[in-house]
Symmetry: C2
């Protein structure tokens, strides 16, 4: 049986087997209009997603929280977050987007003013260009350093968290700076503060994260439980998504310009990066006709999996014709490069247009 | 030679001998119009007071920072802080009065709402009743939990402070709560934030403290030095004052109602507490006539030393006539009890009248 999303499902078994994350496939059929990221297995796991499904079905209040780290350049790997938020926006969520400027300071030495500038020019403008209207009333973008409610809740939460516990999770030592040690608690506060009475009180909250973030989700849920009596917190739910790999192998990274396509790349640069990417094709055309390609090992295919957001049938077609040797890498790459160039032509116009709105958003 | 302020000068030698605090007497003559607390040796030590003197003489900008812990009841021992602030107000200082509600939470479990109420009703009303006009433009009273600038500076400072260092100073362990560990950094921020550019930039700052607070002053100065390049901080100066002893021996404490006269005591209660206080008198009148009393061991005398703010000559008279056996404890206590009753009669009226202003101050 052919499974075009197969490789996704095979990953991150540890989280599912040992840490109580559930396969997303178990709840997929219950989701009202599952997003293509869910259908394709890119979102592969969850905790307590049932209560989010229930809220969506009943039209009840629920919130999404997903942070933005204002460092480096926004790349195409970040687009998946925006795609998820657009979907939640359609499903009626209230959306909170903390900009982690306090963490950017403690982890990378970026000061608050630089964080603000990077957030506006790179990320907020990018989010808007990718189709999320951040000026809508149900969407709240904020800098951690400007959100007194979040900072104060963090301090209250910090009353029931200690050094030993943070050391066990994050490997802190006695010489870790206090700012670095305190940063996770601010993030916990980002996730929990939508349930404060001032913002409408306890309700389901969903946090879409990568699998590396799960220790942090567990800490958040632990702390939420410790303050249930005081605030009535409902334990936050989470989903887990895969990341698209880097164009040069390894991970996409702002630090390695060739590993990723950046939102600020010109259409020509973006196209060239695709044309240089490694495919899952065979040594010769003859071999490829006989054996078919290996889309599971193909960056071109992965790019389409993550970014061709239309119907799944077109993707399935490519998968099958690659596997059965009727599609050659030259043509396939050509089509994808074209698709990406066109996407970036439109994006660069949209980014430019988004800048004034991006500035307005952080001016309150 | 008779020295009516002698006992004060003998205390806290350790701080002066081993930690670099200088005797206040060394700079007393330079102070433009020294307060009675300075003259009487109640303020007995300092660090870098020269730059405060210089600012006062030249009419240059300087600031005073002294916190208010909103827990328990305000007692007559706290009055000395207000007396110092009144003097600095006359000397042209800008005055910052942080209300340590974040510390009250982490150290004593008082939540922010309770802190606010206690701060208004006990402390702010008390400060106003004792003659400090907190609504003046040069005086800034704030709750830590409502001061974003202080919280953000604390986080920046926390980038260069670590657990080992705080453990050495405060004895924290791995199971100390993060809030508790973070509280000293917020206090450091309280002291340093008046030097931020937004508030006028670097300038001399004086922090009047009790000797037990010196480790905290040293930490503050260390941290200020680490951020000198970034903010141009001038190391804060400090003065050290003695505390009036408790009426029943030991320290004055909100927890032991008989140990202190509270601002909310009725004039009759205050008077009774004085009448029950232990004196430095002899067993019999005859003995007292022959040997004189021991004002150094007399709570009545100490009360006068700390609270009879008028001229020093009246106090010297009492000291001498006690020592030479012409003043008997009965009369002396009578006079003092009268003095205190009258003081409290006026105070209770003023406290009542101060409440609306106290509320206004925290409503911004
Ligand atoms: S045909 Fe397309 S999907 Fe298949 S290996 Fe080649 S580039 Fe990849
Ligand atoms: S005469 Fe006054 S000062 Fe002297 S011991 Fe008696 S009460 Fe104290």
């Amino acid at each position: 049986m052919i499974d075009p999303w197969g490789s996704a499902k095979l990953e991150y078994q540890d989280l599912i087997e040992n840490f109580g994350v559930r396969p997303f496939s178990e709840v997929l059929d219950e989701v009202p209009e599952p997003s293509w990221l869910m259908r394709r297995g890119i979102i592969f796991g969850h905790r307590d997603y049932e209560r989010i499904i229930s809220a969506m079905k009943k039209g009840e209040d629920f919130a999404v929280v997903t942070g933005m780290m204002p460092s480096g350049r926004m790349h195409i790997g970040h687009k998946m977050i925006v795609d998820q938020l657009r979907w939640y926006d359609r499903m009626g969520a209230e959306i909170f987007i903390p900009i982690a400027d306090m963490e950017a300071y403690s982890a990378r030495g970026v000061d608050f003013e630089d964080s603000r500038r990077i957030a506006i020019e790179e990320y907020i403008a990018g989010y808007i260009a990718l189709g999320l209207d951040l000026e809508k009333d149900n969407i709240h973008v904020y800098l951690q350093s400007e959100n007194l409610m979040v900072e104060d809740l963090a301090y209250v939460l910090a009353g029931k968290v200690n050094f030993n516990e943070l050391r066990a999770i994050y490997g802190f030592t006695g010489s870790t700076s206090m700012a670095h040690m305190y940063a996770p608690i601010i993030q916990v506060s980002d996730i929990l503060h939508p349930q404060l009475d001032e913002l409408g009180g306890p309700r389901p909250v969903i946090v879409p994260v990568g699998p590396d973030q799960d220790p942090h989700i567990r800490l958040t849920r632990d702390i939420a439980a410790r303050f249930r009596d005081r605030y009535g917190f409902i334990l936050p739910s989470s989903t887990y998504h895969r990341f698209m790999g880097g164009l040069t192998g390894g991970k996409m990274s702002s630090n390695r310009p060739k590993s990723a396509i950046f939102l600020s790349d010109t259409p020509e640069e973006a196209e060239a990066k695709i044309r240089n990417a490694k495919t899952g094709g065979r040594e010769t055309l003859k071999e490829q006709r006989e054996l078919g390609g290996v889309p599971e090992e193909c960056i071109i295919y992965e790019t389409l999996l993550y970014h061709m957001s239309g119907s799944d049938s077109r993707l399935e077609e490519i998968y099958e014709s690659c596997r059965n040797g009727t599609l050659m890498c030259g043509e396939c790459k050509n089509n994808t490069a074209e698709f990406i160039r066109k996407f970036f032509e439109e994006l660069s116009v949209k980014r430019e247009k988004a800048l004034p709105a991006a500035r307005r958003i952080l001016e309150g």
